[in-house]
């Protein structure tokens, strides 16, 4: 129980840190495009919108910093992240909400998929150490250092432009609107195929190598020797004894690398013009749309935090030791 | 003549989720230079805790340690000079030497730290110490620990402990991790060195036989409490406490038949 409390305390602290960094972000950045924008569009912005923008960006020099901080938290609890400049003053929350499912769907699924395939493959290769399967290692090494975006470009060039098997960009065809129809779902799958394949292939190498190394360390442990000596089927030793234990460090390194994965897939969305939060962030950066940038950073940080929590829960379920002893 | 007094020391460890653990409960003893006391007990009895407190690697929860009647200082020059007087030989020869450094480094450091000899004499002193523990300086001094055997490493550890010319030596199970065939050699070396330098030695062990062979007095520790103390022969031949009796009876006796545990052990001379 204490273990969960400590982890919870840590996550609460990290969430607080993310929110506070987000609070300070626009205040340390140069220039003040907000005021300029507001001046230009005097009549078009509602008073509430002006107020929330002021609070988010610290333009109210009459209020103390602490007061601004409190107001900021108040805004967050109301789900108000300001209004986006580049999108006609639509609420930032709405814009992000329309983009987030695409990212979670594509990136989330592809990453989990890649983890599962890579770990299984790595376990098998580690099991068959010294055999021809070891030839995979240099290949996996190479692919693990290939930049995501470059691979995406190559994949587009080969499979889309040249072979024409898949569409090269967007999540669905032009002119279609999101709806729950079979035709739309098929379009989504078709458009998502290339990005998904790119993510899976580009990140596979890392998981394979990591799992292979862990397997080789675990296979030297005495309890594996005992399991084999007991006469258990090799497949059972591989799955229930070796892989099960090698999986744990892999899972925690998966959780740690989530922040890094997010970074790589952000750029992927740019390459494929996929309407997720990554592309949104990059568009916002180009357009110097500060409210949107700030809101996106917060949402992405909290999403990664949430994913970490889930990975931690999975780890605690799999590892009986964490439930008993303290870290 | 130096006197070390371990006075009414209690040590509590805080274990998360399980409350407090009492490692030592009101333990007292006195060690004079020139005498050897053996501290006997099973694993977990608190022997190593006493060693750690004596070398100030841990602090006692309550109680005092007095060197020549004065409380030992907590920090600074006073603590440094206390540490020069009281040195320790660790149990595991494989872990107590830094794998990265040469033997010369290991023995040089205490010499330089405590300014035992002037700088230009350090090298000679290192070699002299190696000879004292019956190691060949020329072939040992530039080696690294993994190139030496367990017995050789423990001799280096002894040389390191003696470098600062202490008056008291704490030997925490110095031979438990060595091959049985060389244990006596190392113990006899320690006995010789003790006589030469008139050291006071606290010999921590779980082996009653070497305790009796090596020391004047034996102290028996059981769950952090001293249950028996006296001259070696008395404690071994006439144990008063039942735990001491159990310890003694646990030693395999070649004259006693396994099938007849009730037959009394013949008295040994």
């Amino acid at each position: 129980m204490r273990f969960f409390l400590r982890r919870l305390a840590f996550y609460a602290f990290t969430a607080w840190a993310a929110i506070t960094i987000n609070f300070f972000l626009p205040r340390v950045m140069k220039g003040d495009p907000i005021s300029a924008y507001l001046q230009k569009n005097q009549g078009k912005v509602s008073p509430e919108a002006i107020d929330s923008l002021r609070t988010l960006f610290g333009l109210d020099s009459t209020k103390s910093l602490w007061q601004q901080y409190i107001d900021y938290w108040g805004l967050l609890f109301h789900g108000d992240l300001g209004r986006s400049f580049s999108r006609g003053l639509a609420p930032v929350t709405d814009i992000i909400a329309s983009a987030l499912p695409w990212t979670v769907g594509l990136v989330g699924l592809a990453t989990v998929f890649s983890f599962i395939i890579g770990t299984s493959l790595g376990a098998l290769i580690g099991w068959r150490r010294g055999s021809r399967a070891d030839a995979v290692v240099p290949i996996a090494t190479f692919f693990s250092t290939v930049p995501y975006f470059w691979m995406g470009l190559i994949v587009i060039a080969v499979f889309s432009s040249t072979l024409g098997w898949f569409p090269a960009s967007h999540a669905y065809g032009k002119g279609s609107a999101p709806e729950w129809s079979l035709d739309f779902i098929l379009q989504v799958v078709q458009h998502g195929a290339l990005p998904a394949i790119t993510i899976v292939v580009a990140s596979l190498g890392g998981w394979v190598l990591g799992m292979r190394n862990m397997m080789m360390t675990v296979l030297d442990e005495d309890y594996v020797t005992v399991a084999q000596a007991k006469g258990l089927k090799p497949r059972r030793v591989l799955v229930n004894y070796a892989a099960r234990n090698a999986l744990l460090p892999q899972l925690s390194s998966f959780a740690l690398s989530l922040g890094f994965i997010v970074g790589g897939t952000l750029v992927m969305e740019l390459v494929f013009s996929y309407p997720g939060v990554g592309k949104l962030l990059l568009d916002a950066t180009t357009a110097k749309d500060y409210p949107l940038m700030q809101g996106l950073f917060l949402v992405i940080a909290l999403a990664v935090l949430l994913a970490n929590i889930m990975a931690d829960i999975a780890y605690a379920i799999l590892d009986p030791r964490t439930r008993q002893m303290e870290a | 003549m130096t006197t070390l007094e371990f006075s009414h020391v209690t040590k509590r460890y805080r274990v998360r989720g399980a409350g407090d653990m009492l490692a030592l409960d009101d333990v007292s003893f006195t060690l004079h230079s020139g005498e050897t006391i053996a501290l006997v007990g099973q694993s977990g009895s608190g022997k190593s805790t006493i060693a750690k407190i004596l070398t100030q690697l841990e602090r006692a929860t309550t109680g005092d340690i007095l060197l020549d009647g004065k409380q030992i200082p907590r920090r600074g020059k006073g603590l440094r000079s206390y540490r020069q007087q009281v040195r320790m030989v660790f149990q595991d020869p494989f872990a107590s030497l830094n794998p990265y450094h040469t033997i010369r480094h290991h023995i040089e450091r205490p010499l330089r730290l405590d300014h035992v000899v002037p700088s230009d004499e350090v090298e000679t002193e290192v070699r002299r110490l190696l000879e004292r523990v019956h190691l060949d300086p020329a072939s040992t001094i530039d080696r690294r620990p993994h190139e030496l055997s367990g017995g050789q490493r423990q001799r280096v550890a002894i040389a390191r402990a003696l470098a600062s010319r202490p008056s008291l030596l704490i030997a925490d199970e110095p031979v438990s991790m060595l091959d049985v065939s060389i244990r006596l050699g190392v113990l006899n070396l320690m006995a010789d060195l003790q006589r030469e330098a008139n050291l006071g030695v606290l010999y921590i062990t779980h082996d009653l036989a070497t305790a009796r062979h090596f020391s004047d007095e034996i102290m028996v520790l059981h769950h952090g409490v001293v249950v028996e103390r006296g001259k070696s022969d008395d404690v071994i031949l006439n144990p008063q406490h039942e735990y001491t009796r159990a310890l003694r009876d646990a030693s395999p006796d070649p004259d006693k038949h396994f099938a007849d545990p009730s037959a009394p052990a013949p008295t040994r001379s």
Binding site: I21, M29, R129, L266 | A95, H101, T102, P137
Partner: protein, 340 residues
């Protein structure tokens, strides 16, 4: 009763033993690199470094030199890797781009490793709330996604210097190494030889610097190489997005221009070599790290070779523990069966 295990020999006069030990110590420090994988990685890295240093001598053109007569040319004798849409020589661009990548990569590695060692080793050595709070700080930086933060911060500056770019990359990259170092230092701290140093009255800075750090060199080296890899990938990604201004020429910038000017999919010579270089450099760095890993964890080293040797004898490594040979002839063969 006395026994002597070693003969006593008259001690020779103190001589040049000191010099020998210093050299052997330096040699020992680099033992982690003396294996085939690391050597290969270092060799590839060395090639890139040489190319970067001697770029002006090797390349025939200035990287931004435009030749309007040779637009979008495929590789030829005049331009080994072809030209861009403005007639710039791609080979020269790659050569000069190597400089940006290597300088920023290594600078980031140095800064991040310095911070990681300072925080990680301290967090490992101290105990209680001090250690926990440093660990919490490390974990916060580990969990927060780096790239969005870098994008936002980097978009602030019009012409950031190399040092600034490296500092920002290091800010998001130090946490991983610090975490590993903290764990290693904590385990090292409880080792007897550290306790012995404490009991001998060694001052704390000396314990950390002289006793503990040398035993951490492999981890520190591995963390450094890992950070450089991440920095190279991060830099090229940022350049590709366009967040880092094009005044800083690196392989990512080449890809940025390629994408902006319609290089896909036809002009393969424009975008393939740059990406390949990134992958190759990353692979070289990963190989170095594998070598260090095998040095630290000997199980990884010989496992493959042992298995191969057994396979040659006809024995399968994965099928059992006690291999029973039925035939005593040297040629094993499938007559062997694992013990039940």
């Amino acid at each position: 009763m006395t026994t002597n295990t070693a003969a006593i020999v008259a001690a020779p006069a103190p001589g040049p033993g000191h010099n020998r030990s210093t050299w052997s110590r330096i040699g020992q420090s680099f033992a982690m690199f003396r294996n085939p994988k690391s050597m290969l990685g270092i060799a590839i890295l060395g090639v890139f470094t040489v190319l970067a240093i001697f770029a002006p001598l090797i390349s025939r053109y200035d990287p931004l030199q435009k030749d309007y007569t040779a637009l979008r040319q495929p590789p030829s004798g005049a331009h080994w890797l072809g030209t861009t849409h403005m007639g710039e020589d791609l080979f020269s661009q790659i050569l000069y781009g190597t400089r940006g990548v290597l300088i920023v990569g290594f600078l980031t590695g140095i800064i991040a490793t310095f911070v990681a060692v300072a925080i990680g080793v301290t967090a490992g050595y101290v105990t209680g709330w001090k250690s926990e709070s440093l660990s919490a700080l490390t974990n916060v930086f580990l969990v927060l996604p780096g790239l969005p933060l870098i994008i936002i911060v980097a978009s602030q500056y019009d012409n950031p210097s190399l040092f600034l770019i490296a500092a920002v990359l290091a800010l998001t990259g130090w946490a991983w190494g610090a975490r590993v170092l903290r764990a290693q230092t904590m385990s090292l701290r409880n080792r007897d030889f550290v306790q012995a140093a404490r009991a001998n009255g060694e001052p704390l800075p000396r314990i950390i610097a002289v006793e503990m750090l040398p035993n951490l060199t492999a981890i520190i080296a591995s963390s450094f190489v890992g950070t450089v890899t991440a920095a190279v990938l991060g830099l090229t990604t940022l350049a590709f997005i366009g967040v880092i201004p094009i005044t800083n020429l690196n392989w990512g910038t080449i890809l940025y221009w390629a994408q902006q000017n319609g290089a896909f999919p036809d002009f393969w010579w424009w975008y393939i070599p740059a990406g390949l270089c990134i992958a190759l450099l990353g692979m070289a760095l990963s190989l170095i790290n594998f070598g260090i890993d095998e040095y630290v964890n000997p199980r990884l080293r010989s496992a493959g070779e042992r298995a191969r040797a057994m396979r040659k004898k006809g024995l399968s490594m994965a099928s059992g523990v006690t291999i029973v040979r039925k035939s005593t002839t040297p040629t094993g063969g499938e007559g062997d069966s694992p013990a039940p």
